[in-house]
Assembly symmetry: C2
Homo-oligomer: 131 residues x 2
């Protein structure tokens, strides 16, 4: 059974609900980066970027390594597994809908290929010529 | 390529970032419900529950049918598919880590099963008895 009140899911989905944070994760998926390198492409202050990084850390998606003044961020994708499992629980709902749609389309194709008996008019009987 | 600035993902993940909303989705997965029936189990005002339902509607996860004064909510799981795809993009990161861990454990098991040659002392040569 999926646990709906799991606070880790709150933090995870909140972290993913922002395009800057999703973009940061994508960049960290390529290579670990310092905070300033990670903040660089975004049109925001370093303080604002740091807030986004902290949200990612709270969700467990980013691990920070401090060496002197250099803070290096690494992706930890593990918490995403919980999010994937939660969403997968609902997969049957859209899969069932797609199956129904496919069945309907196939039935329509069959109808189109079959001779349309119901639409065809019955063959005309030759009119009796009045004597 | 996954689009990181998709506003639908913002709405979807924001909708999922709250335990009440996740619980509402779970109840709607069982059967469609009126707004008041959906709000009933939660210790909050009808107005507060309505706000949650509106967030779910904005994400496209709930469809509302209005008949007179009765508002019936239905689950539409389709937007979850986009979220699943986004997360799946990162699946290899935790799968790779698990594979590495498994490989390490297997290597450890092999080492434990193999005879410890390096630790064994070489067989003693019989001392030559002095003539």
């Amino acid at each position: 059974m999926v646990n709906h009140s799991d606070p880790q899911l709150d933090c995870l989905f909140h972290a993913l609900a922002d395009p800057t944070r999703r973009h940061m994760l994508q960049r960290l998926a390529q290579t670990p980066q310092t905070v300033s390198a990670l903040a660089e492409p975004f049109a925001m202050s370093l303080a604002a970027a740091s807030k986004h990084i902290k949200v990612l850390e709270r969700a467990g998606l980013v691990q920070r390594e401090v060496q002197g003044r250099t803070h290096t961020c690494r992706l930890d994708a593990h918490p995403l597994h919980g999010g994937l499992e939660w969403i997968r629980h609902y997969e049957r709902f859209w899969t069932d809908r797609l199956d129904t749609l496919e069945a309907l389309l196939q039935a329509e194709d069959r109808d189109a290929a079959a001779p349309r008996r119901s639409i065809r008019k019955p063959p005309r009987k030759p009119k009796r010529s009045t004597p």
